[in-house]
Symmetry: C2
Subunit: 155 residues, 2 copies
């Protein structure tokens, strides 16, 4: 892997993380390069894992997923196996989009989506709170979305 990312590569990445449908030729045009080297750069960055994959982004509202909730979880037992078991379960829940271990007050922060309050409560009551060693779960409900992007800063 060839690390120090040049300005051209940055530009390519910026384009691609905004529109994954762009072909090598289209990208080449926008970065003022010819096809081949542009294609090679893209290809290399994919192999390096810098470009992880391409995905289709869906519209949550149109799918009826109008709720986003951030949940702070605290466990009552912090043995290695307890943590691992909890984390594995989390990965398996499709309604949990993100999960981080946190410094400070709570052990985990989860980002959860649901259709509505009822749907969220069902997930909370029947799934999350049923897990062993879950001591606290503080739900913070998002009322509206100001910004949501997958584009990382490239400066």
């Amino acid at each position: 892997m060839q690390n120090p990312l040049g300005p051209i590569d940055r530009k390519i990445l910026r384009l691609l993380q905004h529109n994954g449908d762009l072909t090598a030729a289209e990208v080449a045009e926008k970065v003022e390069l010819s096809q081949s080297p542009c294609w090679r750069r893209i290809h290399r960055m994919q192999e390096d894992g810098l470009i992880e994959r391409k995905v289709a982004l869906l519209n949550p509202k149109l799918l009826g997923l109008s709720m986003t909730v951030f949940v702070n979880i605290k466990l009552s037992a912090h043995g290695r196996s307890n943590l691992e078991e909890f984390e594995q379960a989390i990965v398996g829940y499709p309604e949990v989009l993100e999960c981080y271990t946190m410094a400070g007050g709570s052990d985990y922060l989860l980002k959860v989506v649901a259709k509505d309050i009822a749907g969220y409560e069902r997930f909370l009551r029947d799934q999350l709170l049923q897990r062993p060693h879950v001591q606290e779960a503080h739900s913070n409900i998002a009322m509206s979305e100001v910004k949501r992007t997958t584009e990382l800063p490239l400066d």
Copy 2:
């Protein structure tokens, strides 16, 4: 727009939000359909906005973005224009990936990425805290990532 999403469409979406490189033919094969109707379904869902767009997902670690911070913001003045001005600024910051208005304690929740503590502090001190009417900013630092996906639940 043709609303009640059938099980085949769901399956298509599930595939596409996992791998956006799949061609209509490949999707068709996996959902046991022939090319054309599959292509038409995908095309329709794009026009309907259900499939918003395709993007390349980059690896934050390899870009040196090893920090994720969730920031709770409280404003001191909640006039319409203050809120709008703040939100516009937020949208303009590339290091802010997500921002929601929250029910409860704080006004906004931001998800911010940075290279390291120093980089984050610079953003906090020089950008966020410099904005008018920002009263409080509580930073919650993510230590490790258990799960991170853009795939929405489709059940």
